[in-house]
Symmetry: C2
Subunit: 171 residues, 2 copies
DNA sequence: TATTGTTATACTCTATAACTATA
DNA sequence: TATAGTTATAGAGTATAACAATA
């Protein structure tokens, strides 16, 4: 989880510490905002027994039935070995299942189960609702602009670094 | 680190997977953007032998000489126990030091060392430069707007959830 | 030879709970 | 009793390298 500390010290006292040049840095603001947003989603999804990452995987599997693990890993920006315990867990919980492929016996195609679909159906409105909360104090125009600016930032990074190795920034 | 997978599968093939309702979600966009930004900073700071989190701590310590660990933990949004190994490491590397406090012998005041100041002095331009890259394709107005919108998002979350426990979202 | 999925392993980041030495 | 810092421990989350089965 992502809770925060003790109670002996007043938060105000801690906030009174000088943050120096940290304030206004894009990286810092993005991180703080990202963490705040993720906490709200995490908390709500937790009641359904899944994490944001598991939710994202369920979505992708549902939209791409029978995909191979390696492909799913790529799509999620993870190493193939990282996906193994993730799918183990979801399979144990009965939300996903591995099925052998007739043509290629190395492959384990991933399918969402009925139970997985139920959880997903319950989770989607929760995620949408969380997104509403996140966008709570933004107008529709501001929301579009925020998305647009973040997209620009990412494009800018890609261009400037034009990664020699093809490592995409999925998530 | 935050690298990404194998090479057997074309990135395009993976990108061709349907991401469903994930696209356009604030949480997802924030995460992807945050990760992209952090990777660029991480990579550059790595050459100086420090992580972004260590850099942030150095900044705060430098600006608040002799602060207690518990206070620093709060300021960084971490548990006091989390800060211990972090400071251990920085102390071992000779960038910070713990000094006893005359009045209260429980306290270990944290100070930046000369070496720490040197590393910090080298790191600050690196961080600023990374920030330039991040803001590369934004105009000054867009940059201000992005910061403003993220601030609004955080305020919105705080308001809507108006945390009963005082858990600030530092970082 | 190359690819798929798995294992074994390790490292980072974070927290909670219990402890110590003080206050 | 309460606080400052520490330890012991645990759990995510992630990766790399080596491996078996299969292509």
């Amino acid at each position: 989880m992502l809770t925060s500390g003790d109670s002996a010290i007043a938060d105000d006292e801690a906030r009174s510490l000088d943050q120096g040049m940290l304030l206004g840095l894009m990286g810092r603001e993005l991180r703080v905002t990202y963490l705040a947003v993720f906490r709200t989603i995490e908390e709500r999804l937790d009641r359904l027994g899944i994490t944001p990452q598991q939710f994202a995987l369920l979505v992708v599997v549902e939209r791409n039935p029978g995909a191979r693990q390696t492909l799913l890993a790529k799509a999620r920006g993870l190493d193939k070995s990282t996906l193994v315990p993730m799918i183990d867990r979801l399979e144990r919980d009965g939300l996903l299942e591995r099925r052998p492929l007739a043509n290629d016996r190395r492959v384990r195609a991933i399918w969402i189960t009925e139970r997985g679909n139920e959880v997903l159906a319950a989770a989607i409105p929760v995620v949408r609702e969380s997104d509403e909360i996140v966008r709570g104090s933004l107008t529709e125009a501001e929301r579009a602009q925020l998305l647009n600016l973040m997209e620009k930032v990412r494009t800018g990074i890609e261009d400037r670094l034009s990664s020699p190795r093809g490592s995409g920034a999925s998530a």
